[in-house]
Structures are given as C-alpha cells and as structure tokens.
C-alpha cells in the first residue's frame, strides 16, 4: 500500500514510475550537511496520498535527515524531490511557505515554544497562514479536546508531561489540516502506553485521508501496527519494491556531487 516501484533506466540510475497520486517522490536523492560526507545515498521512493508509511532503522541511520528533506528544511545535494507533484528545486522560495503549510510535522523533541500556552502553540500554523483571531480559539480548543487536553489549554509546555507535550505537538501538526503528517520518532520520549495511544491517533488521522509518515526505531510498535515500512541504514533505503542499492554506482555519484 502506498509505494511505487523503483525501476532502473538504461543508464542504471534508479527512477520511478510516475504515479499520479504520489504525494512524495524522491529520485536518486543524496544529502549532505554543508561540506560533510553524504548522509543519504541515492534514495528513491514514492508515497501515495492517503498512505501510512513507516521509516525504520537504527539511530543515526538517516531517518531524521530523510524527514528533514520531506518537511522542506533542507535541500538535497543531488537528485530530485517532488512534494504534491511539484519539484521542490524549482519552486520559488516565496512559495515554499505555502507548500510547508500542507505538511504537518511532529518533531522528535516536539519543539513547542515554551513561553506560549498550549493553545497558542497549536494556533501557530493558523496564525502564520493569516487566519482571523476570532476563528482560532474555538477551533484550537476543539482540537485540544480531541487529543484529551481540554483542561490544559492555557498551560505552558514546561508544565506538561511528555505525553501531554506530544499531544500538543500533534495538535499543532494537524490543526491546519495538512495533507501529509510527518512524525519523527514521535514515541521516543514517551512510555509504551502513550506511544500506542499516539499510534491510534495517527491511524484515525490516516483514516480521514491524511498521509502519515512515521520515522521510528521502535520495532514493537511496528509489529503492533502493520503498515508498510522502508528501512534506512547507513544512508541507504531498502524495502519492498526498492532494488538493493547499487553500491558501486552510489559511491561514484556520491563523490561527484
């Protein structure tokens, strides 16, 4: 479910069958931070709208880097990325903000803003999109009720538990009804019970049409929620429908970028 098959063209470079419903599309993507070594090599995959996808792998494998590319925090050093059918390298910078608003992100460390209340944190995506203040409070309060935080609307993040902070982060990620929700190790800072409740929450969002991508190294969680998975290790992506990486080709491409 949700994957596109990876092909190789006559030059041996991986390419993807062009799926009309692809919401994310990576082709031969490499990534490096500044002038450092490449942390992702020849990553190619596609996700269909409405899919639920795990990215697994050990810590430091490149999952977070992959997520950073997907939530448009970083440019690839080579290859191409298309989000919502648009090649992000050709999207003018002024339009990237609008593209980001279609992406909800639950960061690994939640990244809530400490001096703002739960309500103001959740309201941020609406405010940056220019929503009227009169419409924000009721909408946010309703969502906080949905995630079980109706009594913590005015609480500051520092007074909330890890699980509560996580739910505020999820509420912030979905308040603007994004088309895709990216969660980077969302269960890393909470206990198993909360992690399972979070997964049910993400499945609910998926059922109403949101594409969900979860990066995690929690194998127990993946076994309990059987969704398709890609595995990232050493900057290489593997999984159903993805050819084993051509290391010789990867090395050659990695040195000339």
């Amino acid at each position: 479910m949700g994957m596109r098959f990876c092909l190789r063209n006559r030059l041996g470079i991986k390419t993807l069958a062009n799926g009309v419903g692809d919401i994310v599309r990576f082709e031969n993507v490499g990534m490096r931070y500044r002038m450092g070594t490449e942390v992702l090599h020849d990553v190619s995959f596609a996700l269909q709208a409405g899919s639920f996808q795990f990215f697994t792998g050990p810590s430091g494998a490149g999952k977070s880097s992959l997520m950073r590319l997907m939530y448009l925090a970083h440019r690839p050093s080579r290859g191409s990325i298309a989000m919502f059918g648009r090649d992000v390298s050709t999207v003018p910078r002024s339009e990237l903000a609008a593209l980001r608003r279609r992406i909800g992100v639950v960061f690994q460390d939640f990244r809530l803003i400490d001096h703002l209340s739960a309500l103001d944190n959740v309201a941020l995506p609406l405010r940056v999109a220019g929503a009227k203040e009169g419409q924000i409070r009721d909408h946010v309060a309703e969502l906080l009720r949905w995630v079980g935080l109706e009594g913590q609307i005015d609480a500051k993040p520092t007074t909330l538990s890890g699980g509560e902070q996580q739910r505020v982060a999820i509420a912030r990620a979905v308040i603007a009804r994004p088309q895709i929700l990216l969660a980077d190790e969302p269960t890393g800072n909470v206990d198993d019970e909360i992690a399972i409740r979070l997964m049910y929450l993400l499945e609910e969002l998926n059922k109403i049409g949101t594409t969900v991508v979860v990066a995690t190294h929690n194998e127990g969680l993946i076994e309990r929620f059987p969704h398709p998975r890609f595995h990232v290790e050493g900057g290489l992506l593997s999984g159903p429908g993805i050819d084993p990486p051509n290391l010789e080709l990867d090395t050659a491409q990695g040195t000339d970028s």
């Binding site: 939530y71 448009l72 925090a73 970083h74 440019r75 910078r93 002024s94 990237l96 903000a97 609008a98 593209l99 980001r100 608003r101 992100v105 960061f107 990244r111 803003i113 400490d114 001096h115 703002l116 103001d120 941020l124 995506p125 405010r127 940056v128 999109a129 203040e133 912030r172 603007a176």
Partner: protein, 291 residues
C-alpha cells in the same frame, strides 16, 4: 488583550539597551540637525543683510571741512553707475553701534568719530570697487571702502562648512543607529533560532517572522526616540531662549522657524521608521539563507 509575541524577544540582553541607544542617538541627531538648520538660517540672514551694500568710512577731521568732505563723497557715490541708494549714517546710529563698548554717553565724550556712509548697489550692477576706491581717495584722502564681500564670503563659507558638518554628523549618527539595530536583530535571531526555525517550518513567510521583530523593536525604538527627541528639543528650546538675549549686531537671532521645528519633529519619526525598516531587511536577509 494583546497577544503574546511568538518570538520571546522581551528581556533579550542585546535589546535591553536599544531604547537608550536609540534615545541617545536621536538626542544627538536632534542637536546636530538643529545646529545645521540654525547655521543655514544664519548664513541666509547674513547674506540678505549685508550683501549688496558698501560702507564708506571717512576718517574724523576738522569740523569745518568734515561736512564738506562727506558731501563730496555722497555726490561721487550718487554719480557712480550701479549705486542706487546713498545714506549718511547719523551720529545717533554710530553711537548706538559703539554703545556696547563705550557706554550710552558716547556723543557726550566728543570723541573724534569717523563718518560712515551706506551705499546700496543694484542687484545686477558690476561695480569696479578698485576704481571707486581710487576715486574716493582722490576726493577725500583716507576714505576707505568696505564692501563686506571678503569677510562675508568667509562667514558664509564657514556657515556652509559647519552646516555640512552638522548634517554629516547627523547622518553618521543615523548610520550608527542602523548598525546597532542590525547587530541587535542578528543577535535576537541567533538567540531565538529554534523558535524562528519552528515558525519557518510550519509555513511562516519571512515577512511574518520579520513583523515579530519589527513590532517589538518599534516599541523599544519609539520609546527611546521620544525621550531622546524630548531632551534634544528641550536643549534646542533653551538655547533658543538663551540665544535671544545674545542676538543682535552680527549674530542673527538663534531661533528655528515653525517649519524647521516641524522638520525637527519628523527626525525621531524618520529614525524609528529607519530602525523598523532595517530590522525587516536584516531578518529577511538572514531568513533568506534558509531553504
């Protein structure tokens, strides 16, 4: 109730002194601008008062022949092409000019005072002063022509240079304000880079983030500029009142026209707008380096 700013800028160490810095710079700019405008007015006044006039000085002599010498000079001047008006300066006026040095009883002292004659030169007249001076010396030996041109030119040149320096100082002060604001803004961006990145990643336009910094800086800069201007204006006002007692003679009245006060009042507004504009540009330039 005012909404809390998304970026927690209040209390930043770098911005704590911004109102004082802006206040001090606006205070200095107000003084520099005032001095510049005063010198501009003074220069113009000197030009209007003295240009186009000659003063002929006839040295004191025996009473019997002095009146005749004065008449001769007046006749010569009236016949000289380009001179449109000739007026002997009465003794009372000369006494008034000397009063600050010799007291009110100048005339009673029976001092040998020179006679002075004012001559007004036509606006487009090309007067040959050397020739006139020679002819006057022939009629009345010792008669001296003072056309004011040399010292007037020095005075107006000095006023122009001082005025330029004043405005240059004002510009340097405003540039200092801009540099301070750039430093403060970049520091604020570095301190709050985590919050700024979150805003950026959830889809905030650069202008939205810039507004956060601009509205905060606007409050600080406006407070500083208001205090700096109030103090500066008070100093100018005091100088104006004090100067009114000193003015007269060569020194024109030390006062700003209503229009000049209006220009002065626009200075803090312009400074605040400059600061806010600088903040916006700085934030957008830094954010422009992000994807």
């Amino acid at each position: 109730m005012r909404r809390v700013s998304d970026v927690p800028l209040s209390g930043d160490p770098a911005s704590r002194y911004l109102p004082w810095t802006v206040g001090l710079l606006v205070f200095l700019a107000t003084l520099a601008f005032s001095v510049g405008m005063f010198l501009s007015t003074a220069g113009e006044t000197w030009r209007q008062n003295v240009s186009g006039t000659l003063t002929i000085q006839i040295p004191a002599g025996e009473r019997a022949v002095q009146a005749e010498r004065v008449d001769s000079v007046i006749q010569l001047l009236r016949k000289t092409p380009g001179i449109v008006f000739v007026r002997p300066i009465p003794d009372a006026e000369i006494a008034a000019l000397l009063e600050p040095w010799l007291g009110k009883q100048v005339l009673g002292l029976e001092l040998p005072m020179p006679d002075l004659i004012d001559a007004t030169v036509g606006p487009d007249a090309q007067l040959d002063l050397a020739s006139l001076s020679t002819r006057l010396s022939q009629v009345v030996p010792g008669a001296v022509v003072d056309d004011h041109a040399v010292w007037l030119r020095r005075l107006t040149d000095f006023a122009a240079i001082a005025q330029t320096i004043s405005f240059a100082v004002m510009i340097v002060i405003l540039i200092s304000a801009v540099a301070t604001v750039i430093f403060t803004t970049r520091t604020g961006l570095a301190i709050h880079s985590d919050v700024v990145e979150v805003l950026h990643l959830i889809g905030a336009q650069d202008a939205y983030i810039a507004r956060q910094f601009q509205s905060y800086t606007l409050r600080l800069a406006a407070a500083g500029a208001a205090i700096g201007f109030a103090l500066g204006a008070a100093v100018v006002w005091s100088a104006q009142n004090f100067g009114a007692k000193m003015s007269g003679g060569l020194l024109p009245e030390l006062a700003l026209e209503p229009l000049q006060w209006a220009a002065l009042a626009a200075l803090p507004v312009a400074a605040v707008l400059l600061v806010v504009f600088t903040v916006g540009i700085t934030v957008k330039r830094v954010l422009g380096k992000m994807m």
